[in-house]
């Protein structure tokens, strides 16, 4: 989807601005103007877009010949409950992340209090902690006081997902608040609004597209999640897809069930689009950012307490718990298998994440360079290439499986080669799912380079290649890196696709967590969890660094 609702956090509002017809229509250069004029380049771009969209289209196609008996049985047994649980979880987490993410973003953007800057960064770190990790930590912690039965509730599951997913909304909201002009607030106040009223009537509505963008990401994650819901015994549709898959092995039934998820995703995006109507949400003129209001005394204490509590519950306490468990595991581990397992799984994870990220980056650059989004064909191809991001992971996995199995059957491959269950197959699926993140990030970063800057460079005698390497990449570089880091974080935490498609011998860290937690072996699950969190934290730190650095380059 090329609309802003599925953009990665860094880029939402830029994309909206890019939609605005600019005053300048200068002939462009470099990456942008290298836009495929040659036939092979056009062909490559079209091939990528089509290859990436086929698994999704194949899944949707499966609904054309529904397997009636499976549906009848599902409808009579689990389906109503699955739909109810999915809806409950979805709306609870959406509400929770919107409130929490927006409130925290507003707190660190509009107010000054001790520790604000550090907190502003730390509040992004839950991004490094997958829901299934936070889930089992709190599950174990609350088991004593709440009882084994009560703790496995949909509400706790929603709380855990909210705590791990709010950073999406938080990042979007913070970017939106930062871009807003204080003048609109000033005018609102001169027209009789208090600070709080101005927030409700002006700041928040203007941030709406960004908030919706963050919420859309959260929605996708909730629909996709299989690890966390399984922990809390919540049977969502995604969980149902896995159960049908592993239980009956009925590929078509699983695919048809997946279409339900696509349906929900489309409805979510449509609601946001319709709600926006003709209104715009960006102001012209200079963006000076909002004026920061200094808090003192009780206000400052309250603000700091609120922020730090969220960090403590979502990150600090769980990490401490993981560390103690890990030490326990090391003490009890006589044969040093844990250490050996850790190295093996870590390498698997890093290999998958690195290859998937680099592939997404390369294809993203190719698409950005090759697609002319002002042309209808370019728009269609861009939409096709980014389709996967609006589609939950299990759906992608199943679509890819069907596609690869069909390819394997055609026998075009050399003897003995099978795509199903291959490393390439796994990477293919991850690219289908996450290419949109890379593409949108690169597109909007490159789009930030002002046409007049490129025109100046070209009139100064720089060719396209020089413009690309000397002007566009340095300016857009931070944004491109940020997009790649986001892909890396996503692939590192990814569970359902890896679960369904991993080749023999590729056991990633999330798979280990999944296996250990499904037998309630928290201590064993702690080791890979801590590894995920550690690598994730490094990536989040890299992300934050590039975001800050990128902001400097662009301004």
């Amino acid at each position: 989807m090329t609309d802003t609702s599925t953009l990665p956090p860094t880029l939402a509002s830029d994309e909206i601005i890019a939609d605005r017809p600019g005053p300048l229509r200068v002939p462009q250069g470099g990456i942008v103007a290298a836009r495929a004029r040659s036939l092979p380049a056009s062909f490559a771009v079209a091939a990528v877009a089509i290859a990436v969209s086929i698994p999704v289209l194949v899944t949707v196609w499966s609904i054309v010949q529904p397997s009636t008996d499976v549906w009848a049985e599902l409808w009579a047994t689990r389906l109503p409950g699955m739909l109810r649980d999915t809806a409950t979880l979805l709306f609870t987490v959406l509400a929770g992340t919107l409130v929490l993410g927006t409130a925290l973003a507003w707190l660190v953007t509009a107010y000054q209090f001790p520790g604000r800057r550090l907190l502003g960064w730390l509040l992004v770190t839950p991004l490094a902690i997958p829901g299934y990790v936070l889930g089992f930590v709190w599950l174990d912690t609350l088991q004593e006081p709440l009882g084994a039965r009560a703790v496995r509730s949909i509400w706790l599951c929603a709380l855990v997902l909210t705590l791990t997913l709010y950073p999406y909304v938080y990042l979007f909201a913070r970017a939106a608040f930062r871009e807003q002009s204080q003048r609109a607030v000033d005018v609102a106040r001169s027209l009789g609004c208090s600070r709080l009223q101005a927030f409700w009537k002006v700041v928040l509505p203007m941030a709406r597209p960004s908030l919706a963008g963050g919420a859309a990401l959260v929605g996708m994650e909730v629909l996709t999640d299989v690890g966390t819901v399984r922990l809390f015994n919540v049977s969502t549709v995604a969980d149902g897809v896995l159960r049908v898959w592993f239980g009956t092995g009925n590929r078509n039934a699983a695919a048809e069930l997946s279409v339900l998820l696509i349906g929900v995703a489309i409805v979510l995006i449509a609601i946001e689009r319709l709600g926006r109507g003709r209104a715009r949400y960006t102001q012209g003129g200079a963006r000076q950012g909002l004026t920061v209001h200094r808090l003192r005394g009780v206000g400052a204490t309250a603000a700091a307490t609120a922020g730090w509590s969220v960090f403590a519950i979502a990150v600090a306490l769980p990490v401490i718990r993981l560390i103690t468990w890990t030490q326990e595991a090391r003490r009890t581990d006589q044969t040093a298998t844990v250490a050996g397992d850790l190295g093996f799984h870590l390498m698997s994870s890093l290999r998958v994440a690195a290859v998937a990220t680099l592939t997404c980056l390369a294809l993203g650059l190719l698409l950005v360079a090759g697609l002319n989004r002002r042309r209808a064909s370019g728009k269609v191809l861009a939409r096709l290439a980014t389709l996967g991001y609006a589609v939950p992971g299990p759906v992608v996995a199943i679509g890819v499986l069907i596609t690869l199995a069909a390819l394997d059957r055609t026998g075009v491959l050399p003897d003995g080669w099978l795509l199903v269950g291959s490393f390439a197959g796994l990477i293919y699926a991850l690219v289908v799912r996450f290419l949109a993140v890379a593409y949108q990030g690169i597109e909007s970063s490159v789009g930030k380079v002002s046409p007049s800057v490129i025109a100046s460079a070209r009139t100064l005698g720089a060719g396209r290649f020089r413009v690309a390497t000397r002007i566009e990449l340095p300016i857009a570089g931070a944004g491109i890196i940020a997009a790649s880091v986001l892909v890396a974080i996503d692939t590192l935490k990814e569970l359902p696709i890896t679960l369904l498609l991993r080749p023999f011998g590729t056991e990633t860290l999330p798979i280990w967590v999944w296996q250990a937690t499904s037998e309630s072996l928290w201590v064993q699950a702690a080791v890979p969890s801590l590894a995920i969190v550690a690598v994730g934290m490094v990536l989040v730190a890299a992300l934050l660094w590039t975001l800050e650095h990128g902001a400097e380059t662009v301004s």
């Binding site: 605005r20 002009s181 003048r183 609109a184 000033d186 005018v187 609102a188 106040r189 001169s190 027209l191 009789g192 609004c193 208090s194 009223q197 009537k201 002006v202 509505p205 203007m206 709406r208 003709r278 209104a279 715009r280 949400y281 960006t282 102001q283 012209g284 003129g285 200079a286 004026t291």
Partner: protein, 346 residues
């Protein structure tokens, strides 16, 4: 003498040094600023500024960029805190009041229309609780005032820059503010548009009888539309007077040069006499040399290096068939003013 003139005179009298009579004329003062001061990091960016604006008066605040004029406006609006002094709006001391309680209208250069609200919703933003039909009537009335009827259901981005600026004024005027503050309101507009929008905006302000303070860095704009003009530099107001007074009788060289081309001739009293280009004439032959000339339409402007050193600008009325003097030509510059020259401190 019109009512407006009388009111302005009342204030002018006060500004000339006489204490303002707090019995009668006070209600005609829309805005009074006494000793206003604003500091950032210990540095005064608005420094002991005092002035008053009468009801219905258009007060132009002009100065180079960074002189503190926008800061002064924000201080009056209550958007930034004052480090000293008082702001009195319609007889009410509002110095410590929140901006939303002050009853002021604000118009910014980038108009700051709310992009997510329709035009009618923008204009009605400050109207408070009101019957729906009254509100619609009010909006329509304001749209007519700014000569944009029928635009109610549009969105800001569907309007041109000039139209957006007029809507911003309508929005500021809607709650009947005690004073309208305009911060470089025409700076973002195309020069070809600017005059028209300016005329409309001034007409709308006059129509409403609203007191207004307009900040600009363009001297021509200030002189053209201000009932009075205040010249500001480095946080201080140097002079407040009618446009023709500040132009012809500036208090110092800075004001003189900021408001237009000026040369200074030594005078007998140890001060200098200011000459504007139209106060001078050139004649063929002599010790002075033309170093540059520009055709300005109505006049030719010559830069002439006088035999005793300084370069002065001289305007000569241009007309069809005018035989203009050439660069490098020898001329004599003489004072041709039909009024005594204004003397100011050297």
């Amino acid at each position: 003498m019109t009512d407006l003139d009388r009111r302005v005179d009342t204030v002018l009298g006060a500004m000339d040094g006489e204490a303002l009579d707090h019995g009668g004329p006070e209600r005609t003062v829309a805005l009074a600023v006494h000793g206003a001061r604003r500091e950032i990091g210990g540095r005064a960016i608005v420094d002991d500024v005092s002035f008053e604006v009468a009801d219905g008066e258009l007060f132009a605040l002009v100065g180079p960029s960074g002189c503190g004029k926008s800061s002064l406006l924000r201080l009056i609006a209550g958007l930034d805190p004052a480090a000293g002094g008082r702001v009195v709006l319609a007889g009410r001391d509002v110095t410590t009041l929140a901006p939303e309680k002050r009853r002021i209208g604000l118009v910014f250069q980038d108009h700051a229309l709310f992009p997510h609200r329709r035009i009618d919703q923008n204009i009605a933003f400050g109207l408070g609780r009101m019957d729906r039909r009254d509100r619609a009537r009010r909006v329509e009335e304001l749209l007519e005032l700014v000569r944009l009827p029928g635009m109610a259901k549009r969105y800001p981005h569907e309007l041109s820059g000039g139209e957006q600026q007029r809507i911003a004024l309508a929005r500021a005027l809607a709650p009947d503010p005690a004073v309208v503050l305009l911060d470089e309101p025409f700076a973002s507009l195309d020069p070809s548009l600017r005059d028209d929008v300016r005329t409309d905006v001034v007409a709308a302000l006059r129509d409403r009888g609203a007191a207004a303070v307009m900040v600009t860095h363009e001297r021509d704009e200030a002189l053209a539309i201000g009932d009075r003009v205040a010249v500001m530099s480095a946080g201080r107001i140097l002079q407040i007077d009618r446009p023709e007074e500040v132009y012809e009788r500036p208090v110092d060289r800075f004001v003189a040069e900021f408001l237009g081309e000026a040369a200074f001739l030594p005078a007998d009293d140890g001060r200098v006499a200011m000459v504007r280009p139209h106060d001078l004439a050139v004649s063929d032959g002599g010790p002075d040399v033309i170093v540059d000339r520009r055709y300005l339409g109505a006049v030719w402007r010559y830069d002439v290096r006088r035999a005793d050193g300084p370069v002065v600008a001289v305007d000569v009325a241009a007309g069809p068939g005018d035989r203009s003097l050439q660069v490098g030509g020898q001329v004599t510059v003489s004072v041709a003013a039909d009024h005594p020259l204004h003397h100011l401190p050297a």
